[in-house]
């Protein structure tokens, strides 16, 4: 089974702190994604990556950055956390264009609260 793990289920940080959210997948997938999920807004794409050291902005990249130094790991960084970044963060991975199904596999999510 594909497994996507996220470093924390719950996280509480203070305004202005630098926050790292880690995601690891064990299926050698090329693509990895970070979403945030807010009530009534569904999933919104923050950043995604097609390959190591590659990254592309999603729909709401402001206030976030990412790092992908190894194929299996994709980190989301909040440079200076703000209260409007309180949300559920979901990581996902999928096989590349050569893959047959293109479905995304999700981690359990990290619920981040910024005080």
């Amino acid at each position: 089974d594909v497994k996507v793990t996220q470093s924390s289920r719950y996280l509480v940080k203070r305004t202005g702190e630098k926050v790292f959210l880690e995601c690891v997948q064990d299926m050698d997938h090329e693509n990895m994604f970070w979403y945030r999920q807010d009530p009534g807004l569904g999933l919104r794409l923050i950043y995604f990556s097609y390959d190591v050291k590659m990254k592309e902005k999603g729909d709401i990249p402001e206030g976030y950055s990412v790092s992908r130094e190894k194929k299996e790991r994709f980190s989301l960084i909040l440079e200076s956390a703000s209260t409007n970044q309180t949300s559920m963060y979901l990581c996902a991975s999928s096989p590349g264009l050569a893959g047959f199904y293109n479905e995304q596999f999700f981690g359990p999510g990290t619920r981040l609260t910024v005080l």
Binding site: V4, N31, G40, L41, G42, L43, L45, F48, Y50, G58, L90, A92, S94, G96, L97, Y101, N102, E103, Q104, F105, F106, G107, P108, G109
Partner: protein
Amino acid sequence: AQSVTQLDSQVPVFEEAPVELRCNYSSSVSVYLFWYVQYPNQGLQLLLKYLSGSTLVKGINGFEAEFNKSQTSFHLRKPSVHISDTAEYFCAVKITNRDDKIIFGKGTRLHILP
């Protein structure tokens, strides 16, 4: 650009009754279509997908969906719901020959009433 509309944000239904969750998409090119389910305090998992072929797609937990190209719809159905189906359901679309971004709908919360 493609988009996904889930027409109902919440759907209450009695246990053992049938349910339909509606999804419409807009795209000028061919697409793949997905339904994902999110149980309380969990990530999303794939319920079913349409890639090509038969327009009636069967998924896990007794769910099925029908692709209707003329109406650009992909509604999700279950003939008899159980309390364990309480969850949020997301419809999603992906362009078949483009990059791997999937566009998600805003979700429909299914409430099962005893």
